[in-house]
Symmetry: C2
Subunit: 139 residues, 2 copies
């Protein structure tokens, strides 16, 4: 019965189905950025998940961090810091953002959420970014 909120379809592309989450690449080439959406119907907050799923979400956040670093490497930008955010003020379906930040990025040191307009990937770069993320998530 789980259905991905259509907001994610508009702003991101599928990378992989992890054990708990749909992993998606945010279509904003300003930052290597993965969105994780637990496939649990009706979950809005972390504590809407059972304890096993909460632990799995943490595992997948750490895994997505490695994938974000891999996407950054592919884009030719070093990730200085990972930012993790679970907000949901605009799209309430539970999801986690994992974003690679660098000291010269357009929003540093502020948060990426709500910062300017997304810069979509070119088709070629999107394919490469998804490939890099997919490889990293397989480990």
């Amino acid at each position: 019965m789980f259905r991905l909120d259509t907001a994610f379809l508009r702003t991101s592309h599928p990378i992989a189905a992890l054990r708990l989450c749909a992993a998606r690449l945010q279509d904003d080439s300003r930052w290597p950025w993965i969105v994780l959406v637990p496939r649990v119907e009706g979950a809005l907050e972390i504590d809407d998940l059972g304890e096993v799923d909460q632990v799995q979400l943490m595992r997948e956040i750490v895994l997505a961090g490695a994938a974000v670093r891999a996407v950054g490497f592919m884009l030719g930008v070093a990730v200085d810091k990972l930012n993790v955010g679970l907000l949901g003020n605009i799209t309430p379906q539970l999801h986690a953002h994992v974003v690679g930040r660098r000291a010269d990025d357009p929003a540093w040191p502020g948060p990426v959420w709500g910062a300017g307009e997304a810069t979509p990937y070119s088709e070629a770069a999107l394919t490469r970014a998804i490939g890099a993320a997919e490889n990293a998530l397989r480990r």
Copy 2:
């Protein structure tokens, strides 16, 4: 050898020592807001923690969410949504923010980080807020 970054001493007040983290109340009465700092020397990213500590961090984030709701209740504001963020762009020592948001708060639906200036608690409200948080964290 763990030492709390002095930035936390300036901006927050101690609530409790959880198993992994120092739990602190952010001194900003605009939002019920708890900061968790794992007492692990040199940790900057989640994956600097061992797996057991990663799981414990998730547990304490969930626990802090309940405490944030309790502080909101004490302040007379309903928490509509929890926001969780691990950024560290300004203060690199690993820490998690757990913030209670409401649809009429001063930054909604944007993030709280970097939004305006903190409104410190009065002494009486601070004591009540810390008390409410401490009680909730004990459960």
